[in-house]
Amino acid sequence: MSATSSVRRKSIPWWLSAPALVLFTALLLVPLVLTAVLSFNAFDPATGVKASEYTLGHYTHVFADSYYHAIFWRTFWIAAVVTLICVLIGAPEAYILSRMRNPWRSILLLVVLAPLLVSVVVRAFGWSMLLGPEGLVNGTLGLVGIGPVKILYTETAVIVALVHVMLPFMVIPVWTSLQKLDPGVENAALSLKASPFTTLRRIVLPQVLPGILSGSLIVFGLAASSFAIPGLLGGRRLKMVATVVYDEYLHELNWPLGAAIALTLLVANLIVMLSYNRLV
């Protein structure tokens, strides 16, 4: 009796987590494995994927061709710049928000999070209207006498829009770690003759660093694999990895090459994130 009940007790956690496990396996692991297998399948432009033939050719192609190098490099430096800007804007923003009083705090927090409620595609089109040659930004620049500047379909447009999309993902973790901060510690530092700036640097910042770290990991990961923004604001010429994958799948119909690029991005992203985590 006690033996069976202890067995049952041990199995309960498994049963409870079963729905999530099934979902996770069916929707993430299985497609990932299928993609991985696909990336090793041989491809013939005339007949398509050869399911029984395996090759490393797609990977050697990606690693050897400078065309792909440039795209990977662009993707990662854009993601890094977006992350940096999000830290510089998001961390102070979260700090200022946390020092505000209600109701302003709640209202402005909602304003920060509101973009999450609007589709990325809609926001991207919004930015393309603002940044286009006839858009508001160039109109304003024209008023001050600066001739039309090409912003749309450049890295700048992609970065600006990505920062806008990613900012909530930086603000939320920093905000969370600020909530855990004992409000007394700032006063304690002030009472020990620290200036407000020293207090911020020596007392507040080290305590919210975990929040900034996790925020930048989220932002970097999402920015490096972003598709809609570079697709709509980078145009046809300015490619990032996710848009290249899309092209391989839907225009070239070379699914194995697309899968190989996608997996390379996944692994590269993992390496960057893990080493960043180790570094800080």
């Binding site: 004992d182 007394g184 510690v185 006063n187 304690a188 020990l192 003759k193 620290a194 020293t198």
Partner: protein
């Protein structure tokens, strides 16, 4: 001129008055407690002295220097916070050292002073630990060491012991007092715990609703409370409503029901409604035929070193504390006499309007 001087210090939050015309002078080396229930303005007062809250009107002077509007980080006061507010990402030694570092003290001297301060609070062994690895009492000591190491002119303690369990709190009370005596730092403590305030302070400031209603030595506050509130907030009291019958220049005669007593002092006119206040431990249980009143034990509670009785008498219900001195305790329903020494009676105004505080007393 005293060392720390608060003159008519007032704090408004919008239209609500948190602290009203607070006057207090603290002498050098003195240990003063601000005592009162929550919301009485004691913490606000401390925050104004610390510089974390702006003063609405009035003046705060430290050692002759006006600090009313000085920034918190220029006052140089040592503060122990209720939550301790230790820096969680720094070791104990770094926490204590932070204030010295801000004063640009050379590293070698800093190390020496930190070791000294940690020695003072018996934490030499824990210098390299982080606050999260310490117990509540140890964190408390770190906070104290951090505040004292900068040798502040005034040490401010904001409910420093309220987060400790009862036994530890008692130990820390005496240790706090010992350390304060040893280093001789002028100290202002905020507390809602009357026994804490009494046991370690030189003087107690009792606050109610934003006003200081009595500033006195602990014994004086206990034995001569100025208001009904103080008599019940600081210790327990039996309050019997009565009427003044005659008043001479030194004595007042009061009738409480059939009981007529003669009380020292003459602050009331004949006919005034008063409360006769006697502390429970001043009452003695005597044989039923003797004493001022006769009554019946309604309930008894065993408190360890003492018995507490509720006694029904003709003058009303009385609480009596009797030492558990080995004699058999009285049982419920037993008849008993109740007596008390004449000099232990106090008279308080029945309507609890605190008599205006005399200036001489404020400056004391």
């Amino acid at each position: 001129m005293s060392f720390l001087q608060l003159t008519d210090v007032t704090k408004f939050y919008g239209s609500t008055c948190a602290v009203q015309a607070m006057n207090l002078s603290v002498e050098k080396g003195e240990f003063v407690s601000l005592l009162g229930p929550s919301g009485c303005g004691k913490t606000t007062t401390l925050q104004m002295v610390a510089g974390f809250e702006a003063v609405s009107s009035g003046r705060i002077a430290l050692d002759g220097r006006d600090i009313t509007h000085a920034k918190a980080n220029t006052r140089g006061l040592g503060i122990v916070f209720q939550t301790y507010a230790l820096f969680p990402h720094m070791t104990v030694a770094d926490n204590v050292s932070f204030g010295l570092e801000m004063r640009k003290m050379p590293k070698a001297e800093r190390r020496e002073r930190v070791a000294q301060a940690l020695g003072l609070v018996h934490l030499e062994q824990h210098a390299t630990r982080y606050p999260r690895e310490l117990s509540g009492g140890q964190r408390q000591r770190v906070a104290l060491a951090r505040a004292l190491v900068i040798e502040p002119p005034v040490l401010l303690l904001d409910e420093p012991l309220s987060n400790l369990d009862a036994k530890l709190r008692e130990e820390m009370q005496f240790e706090l007092r010992q350390i304060q005596r040893k280093v001789g730092t002028t100290t202002v403590m905020v507390t809602h715990d009357q026994s804490e305030a009494m046991s370690i302070s030189d003087r107690v400031v009792v606050m109610e609703a934003g006003r200081a209603t009595q500033i006195d030595h602990p014994l004086q506050v206990y034995e001569h409370p100025r208001t009904r509130f103080i008599s019940t907030f600081v210790g327990k009291a039996n309050l019997l409503p009565g009427k003044v019958t005659t008043a001479s220049s030194t004595h007042t005669q009061v009738a409480v029901g059939a009981l007529v007593v003669d009380v020292e002092g003459a602050q009331f006119r004949p006919g005034a409604a008063v409360l006769l206040s006697v502390r429970p431990e001043k009452l003695q249980l005597v044989p039923a035929t003797q004493g001022r009143l006769v009554g019946e034990i309604a309930e008894r509670f065993f408190l360890g070193s003492q018995w507490m009785y509720r006694v029904h008498t003709s003058a009303g219900e009385l609480m009596v504390l009797a030492p558990n001195d080995g004699r058999p305790a009285l049982v419920e329903g037993e008849r008993t006499g109740v007596d008390w020494p004449g000099h232990c009676m106090r008279l308080l105004p029945a309507d609890d309007a605190a008599p205006a505080m005399l200036d001489a007393e404020v400056a004391a």
